[in-house]
Amino acid sequence: MQPEAAVLLVGAAGSLVFAVVFGPARQPGILLLRGGVGLVAMALIAVAPDLDTALLVVLALAVLQGAIELNRGLAVRLRAPVFAISLVALALVLDRASGPAVLHRFAAVGIAAGLAAIVGLLPFMHEFDPAEAVSASPIGWMAFAGPIVAAVLVLDSRRLFTPDTDAVFAAILIGLGLLNALWGSVSAWVTEDGTAAWRYAFMSDWGLVLCGFGLTVADGQSAALLMLLSIVVCRLPLYLMSRPALREKTTTDRPVNLVVAAVLSGSAPFVGFAARVLLFRGATELFWPLGLVLAVSMLLWLPGSLRLGRTLGQPRGRQLVGIAIVLAVNTALGLYPLPVLSLAGT
């Protein structure tokens, strides 16, 4: 198992336990069951000996998830993940065969696009129903399974690529990353529906993840890992906490909401800021104007985060304790990410 995937798996497991213990789930048993199956699948993906096996597990997971709820029709629910897997499979065929260099470039396109399609990023966004259960919605891909799939896909496929293909792959990732970072952060601010705003916020974080993966230096990989961790252990638990208030369409403006907004916006001393520092390092090493674009886009996180913070409602009791735990974990990761990064081998 790759160390990055192992770290993300532990994070995902932690988030699941957190969701069951502190979350407002109406049926925690079912959440635990679905999440547990997902965790098993993710573990299989992480330990898969090759990308083909990993793809097969992703395919199985996609069908299982698609079968949970049928409010959108099974065919529609399967569309994006199966299309994504087909893309990646096609890319692997193109990359493995001998032939002109352009085939390998198409392979890079296939893997990058497939990754975006599996997770549900622009321009391959999944259809979305805000009323769906989290385990059945595209946010499950974005926040729970997607990080491990991304880590495995990117890191394993990089081993197959030639330097030219890798450069193309990196460029596509950065392009998609910037697109998602900008679109997601602005949309999280202006979209009307609160649940959709959370989805866009996930998308904007993924934008930074893709940029980090695209920066082919150690700092970029570290940044991507930290952002993935922040999605799994920060944004996902907070989203789960906000579900009751989102259903009731209530917003609250108390200090705890502002603290949560600070966490979501990537302010110091939380993990998002550390990831941004690493992104700056990577961008400076490779292409400094990218740092300027990143800096500007990072400012766009703030209005959306303020909005999302208000959607948390007024947490009490167990949920307040849960939020405190999320804040503590994020602060620890933000101030001292070295142990986690060392464990992940970056």
Binding site: P269, R276, V340
Partner: protein, 549 residues
């Protein structure tokens, strides 16, 4: 003392914040006691660390994981700024009652700010300063979510810019540690980024920014904390820029631009001050005026200018605490604070401004014109102060959060401390200037006079008689409280009205009814988020085409 003691000024407030939060959540209100205790303990630890040794101490604890090590450093600069941050914070935390949530956040802000000042490198300063900014925004919002607070985006932009500059130094120069950055890494681009970060962090802008706006809040508890913990940090960055640049900024034009900007900040604040409609509004401009003067002097690139700026900043810190404790009513305390703020001789403000203006003349070339501008600003502030004596007090604030006696004490202290200017400069400002400017050895004088390049300012000999004369004049006037009447402003504020008009015109601008846009963002969003295969295929084709180029 072991080098690990450098953690004390940071750890004490942070631990205290945790204790306050834990006990507060359990129903025990110990905020004031614990926060004040921690703040004064931080002050004491800074003094205990520095005074016996008076040389640089470092603590290196290893890498943190984002290219920066946990390096702490206490030198003369850190000592000076540490006191500027911790002392006013300690004063307001001691004298003002606040909820446990506010106390915890305020103490957190103090701890983060101390970390920013003690940090040994740019990136760590950025993280700590960013954390302080976050904490300040939280404490302001906790106190009153509807009142004005600093633009979070602006603060975040400043600290992000600093983080970026730090990473550039790490990548290009190999390190972002203040004492080890190669001078050649401080290009004008990096210096510009650092300067922008500093200006945004402290709100040093030639229009009404947060250091002025926070004073219009109904309560001034959080405003005092914000000014104490956040305002000095921008100046700290500019002083460290000298440190990294071997005592100078990369281009002479830098000095001129920043000095002019400082003058502009002070001038615009002085214009607002003289047009204030209440005394609270006047006090709201005191910090920006002082800050502008400090920036003007600091950016000159001379040891005297830097030294004068540090004295001005120390005075600013003291007056920020005084204003935060002042009640909104006519009193001897408010009169004293007004006098201290306008720089009546022989106050510390007076002395620092004299030195600052002197430094502009000694800097040479057109920088002397900046000094003339500084004189004009001083005159405006005098006028504003005279007006302020007769203005209505303001909207009123809770009496429980005021302490007129302490405010009076602070103001009087800055007024009578003028004769000790040379002593203050020699013990507080000059060591810091010498730390970052090798040429600061030229700063001479004794404990009674300040020696500049071209002259000597006999502080004791000149200021003591002024103090005696001033005191006699005040006593002879027989006025123990203000009984003046409000006078109209000398200069009517045209620009704000014009700006307001422009803003209204822009806000009222509408696209003509007949116009139909081809770009409908809602439809674009619906198309992108609708899961449409056509879009997916089109994107794939576009990507495939792009990689064949």
């Amino acid at each position: 003392m072991p080098s690990s003691a450098l953690l004390l000024p940071i750890a004490l407030p942070l631990v205290a914040a945790g204790v306050i939060a834990a006990l507060g959540a359990a129903g025990l209100e110990v905020g004031r006691l614990v926060s004040a205790g921690a703040a004064w303990a931080a002050v004491a630890s800074i003094l205990a660390l520095w005074l016996p040794v008076r040389s640089t101490q470092e603590l290196i604890l290893g890498q943190m994981g984002f290219g920066s090590g946990f390096d702490l450093r206490l030198d003369a600069v850190g000592f000076a700024f540490g006191l500027m941050v911790s002392v006013p914070a300690a004063v307001v935390l001691t004298l003002q009652k606040r909820s446990w949530q506010e106390a915890a956040l305020a103490t957190l802000a103090l701890g983060a700010s101390m970390a920013a000042v003690e940090a040994g490198g740019v990136v760590l300063t950025a993280i700590a300063g960013g954390a302080a900014a976050t904490a300040v925004v939280l404490v302001l919002d906790t106190e009153d979510p509807r009142a004005r607070r600093p633009s979070w985006a602006m603060l975040l932009a400043g600290w992000l810019a600093l983080a970026w500059a730090g990473t550039i130094l790490q990548v290009r120069g190999g390190t972002a540690v203040y004492s080890a950055v190669p001078v050649s890494s401080i290009t004008w681009q990096v210096a510009s980024l650092l300067a922008v970060a500093a200006l945004l962090a402290s709100g040093l802008l030639p229009w009404r920014s947060w250091p002025s706006q926070v004073w219009s809040r109904p309560s001034l508890r959080a405003a005092g904390i914000a000014l104490a913990t956040l305002y000095p940090l921008g100046f700290y960055i500019l002083v460290r820029l000298y440190d990294m640049g071997d005592g100078r900024y990369p281009l002479p034009a830098f000095d001129g631009v920043l000095s002019v900007l400082g003058l502009a900040v002070a001038l615009v604040a002085a214009l607002r001050a003289q047009g204030a409609t209440t005394r609270r509004e006047f006090f709201g401009e005191v910090v920006p005026v002082f800050g502008g003067y400090a920036l003007m002097s600091l950016a000159l690139g001379t040891p005297l200018g830097l030294s004068a700026a540090l004295v001005a900043l120390a005075t600013t810190a003291a007056l920020a605490a005084a204003v935060a404790l002042l009640p909104d009513r006519a009193s001897i305390a408010s009169l004293a604070v007004v006098a201290a703020a306008v720089g009546i001789p022989p106050s510390l403000a007076f002395g620092s401004r004299v030195l600052g203006i002197e430094a502009t003349f000694e800097a040479g070339d057109f920088l002397g014109l900046i000094g003339l501008g500084g004189t004009l600003v001083w005159v405006l502030m005098m006028v504003a102060g005279a007006r302020a004596a007769g203005l209505p007090a303001g909207r009123g604030r809770p009496v429980a959060e005021t302490s007129p006696a302490v405010a009076l004490g602070i103001a009087v202290a800055t007024l009578v401390a003028g004769p000790a200017l040379a002593l203050f400069q020699a013990s507080f400002a000059n060591p810091a200037a010498a730390e970052v400017m090798p040429s600061a050895g030229s700063l001479g004088g004794s404990l009674q006079s300040v020696a500049t390049v071209s002259t000597v300012l006999p502080a004791v000999a000149l200021f003591v008689p002024l103090l005696i004369i001033g005191s006699a004049a005040y006593l002879a006037s027989g006025s123990s409280s203000q009984r003046a009447e409000a006078r109209p402003p000398v200069l009517a504020p045209v620009a704000p009205r014009a700006l307001a008009g422009w803003r209204e015109a822009v806000a009222a601008a509408r696209v003509p009814e007949q116009y139909r846009t081809i770009l409908n963002l809602r439809e674009l969003e619906a198309a992108a988020s609708g899961g449409r295969p056509v879009l997916w295929l089109a994107a794939l084709v576009a990507l495939a085409f792009a990689v064949t180029r």
